[in-house]
Symmetry: C2
Subunit: 343 residues, 2 copies
DNA sequence: AAATTTTGCTAAATCGTTTTAGTTTTTCCT
DNA sequence: AGGAAAAACTAAAACGATTTAGCAAAATTT
């Protein structure tokens, strides 16, 4: 295997200084008046010896690593894995590598991971946060580490963010359910209480219901801890069922909740949408071939990734981001399938 | 924000050499006879100044980064995202960070990524490969980069590998379908032709069928390129349908194929399992609540990850791996649900 | 008391790159 | 010819850690 070729080897074998080689390799040769002849000689030698720069040495010197981090609560959640996949492709095509971290909705684990990634001198971070306030990110802004928040945001935050119009999504879902004649409706989200996406979806949902005079009783606004989803849902559904007080429809606020809800309704042999209708948030390909297929509010995953990566890249490259662009809100779509249509 | 504290700052503020500080920090102080008093002083100061070592500088010096790479064909495929998630947790608990790369079943992209990760001096790689021969990995063994192949392997490979007993999985599937009375059976896998998992599943499947005198006609062994799945399956199913020559059962060789197949059968309004039974490979939580729920051969995802990570860590730490442990084959389970049971 | 060993510590080299601050040589101008 | 300007290149420092080789003082042995 032999030893690795360094910039010094190139320089020595050509009888020039390593400064010169470095300049050529970094496209700064013209600026420094290195003659075209010499430049060619260097480039040829680089090819001949198959020189590969030591990424670590360069990162050390420059404090830059051409690596970005993506933090999400759980990479095995389909929504996040698709986001991660899109970002990975974009990053790759721009010469960046991606480190993915799952935070398990754990605020401390997230902070710890951010600290670690910062120590590694990552160039930037794309984060779907589990924090309970904007404060850590305002600090992050001050510290100068480029980053973009996706999915979840906070009021009064100074970090750039990309999210969807969750409020509008909630409204769309509500109007559709109302239109189908459902009035007794439950909502299932996740704790903790500060997750902006969940809250916006709920308030949007409630606002549209209220316009028709429909109010959701508090015990029908269910929130389950991440990791307890299945149990909580099973428990609640059983409770409703035994009490003979089933809602006519359920709005589940992310794709895992939708899946868990479907699964447990089936276990109880409750007919969908005959006995209970299901409206989900986040589309997943298989929702179209479950029986019944599932109506959802769909997020533009590719677009979220594109905008977020663009925003991050521009920060890394040092361009200012105007206030207007800083907080992007993308539209959502409603996809109506069988789970909300009374036959 | 201030400047970063370096080891030199600690040394100066204490009036000792940075050698000493470094030794203390790396737990080599006792070996070098540094007095307990001094050690304590150093550790206290480190806390006081909140010193964080520069990971890059250390990586540069040591040629080690405490980072491992995970290469899979597509991180948004549920099977791989769960594998990645498990590995991430294991790595994290051992002080390692994970870089995930999707190779798109592209042999060249994979090689390129391995090169890049190697340049970054990653400590090791866990790979579900898209290569068409063992040769690149035998080279990788020679080059001394620790790595473990998962999922897919080759005959006569010198790299450690963890896979499941795909042949047995194929047999299980076949015996179940035979037992249910199906004889005219199709198989859907992916190209290219050298993917060991696909081939083993098919040969296992065929071997068990053959014992009962059942032969699959060649045109019923379908292979689709990655990325063309949906189209290929749609086309083939339509063709069978219009020719009035539907198989009685279909064995789909990974979870995406199963999904795509379900989706297209629904579009054609073909009843499952009434007209066609479906047997999948790889379990995904929602296969239990589709209607019909889907019978599958399930792989032990956590176990694959654990064994692979253990094998990798031991290589990184320099211990030899015996020939016996080098090629681990884990058992699979059959989960029988509705999609293969005639009502 | 001199020689040896042990204890506790440090100076300096090293890793591979980038960059600052020049130097040397050639060309041009008057 | 003498001085200024331009062209082409380079020496050495810097980044922050680890490690090799070894020094000085104290303790122990002879």
């Amino acid at each position: 295997m032999g030893k690795k070729i360094s910039i010094d080897d190139i320089a020595k074998s050509l009888g020039v200084s390593k400064t010169l080689v470095s300049l050529v390799l970094n496209d700064k040769a013209d600026k420094h008046g290195i003659s075209p002849d010499t430049q060619k000689k260097v480039r040829d030698k680089v090819k001949e010896l198959n020189y590969q720069p030591n990424v670590l040495a360069r990162g050390f010197r420059l404090g830059k690593t051409n690596t970005i981090g993506v933090l999400v609560s759980d990479i095995s959640n389909r929504f996040y894995s698709r986001i991660a996949r899109s970002i990975e492709d974009l990053a790759w095509s721009h010469g960046y590598t991606v480190i993915i971290c799952s935070t398990d909705e754990d605020l401390n684990k997230e902070s710890e991971q951010i600290r670690l990634l910062r120590d590694r001198k990552l160039d930037g971070l794309i984060i779907s946060t589990s924090q309970d306030s904007a404060e850590p990110f305002n600090k992050l802004v001050d510290s100068g580490l480029p980053h973009v928040l996706i999915d979840r945001t906070f009021e009064g935050m100074r970090s750039p963010s990309v999210s969807v119009d969750n409020f509008a999504g909630g409204r769309l879902a509500a109007r559709h359910l109302l239109h189908q004649g459902y009035r007794k409706i439950a909502v299932i989200g996740i704790t903790p209480d500060h997750i902006s996406t969940i809250n916006d979806r709920i308030t949007g949902f409630q606002s549209a219901l209220a316009e028709e005079g429909v109010i959701i009783p508090p015990q029908w606004i269910i929130k389950t801890p991440f990791g307890e989803m299945d149990n909580t849902i099973k428990g609640k559904l059983q409770q409703f069922y035994q009490a003979g007080a089933m809602p006519e429809a359920i709005f589940t606020l992310n794709n895992n909740l939708t899946s868990a809800c479907m699964l447990n309704l089936r276990k109880l042999s409750i007919d969908i949408p005959g006995q209970v209708a299901i409206m989900g948030f986040d589309d997943v390909s298989f929702f179209s071939f479950t029986r019944p297929s599932i109506s959802v509010i769909a997020q533009p995953i590719e677009r979220i990734s594109e905008v977020a990566f663009d925003l991050l890249l521009r920060q890394i490259e040092g361009s200012k981001i105007s206030e207007k662009e800083k907080s992007v809100k993308l539209p959502v779509d409603i996809i109506i399938r069988e789970s909300t249509i009374k036959s």
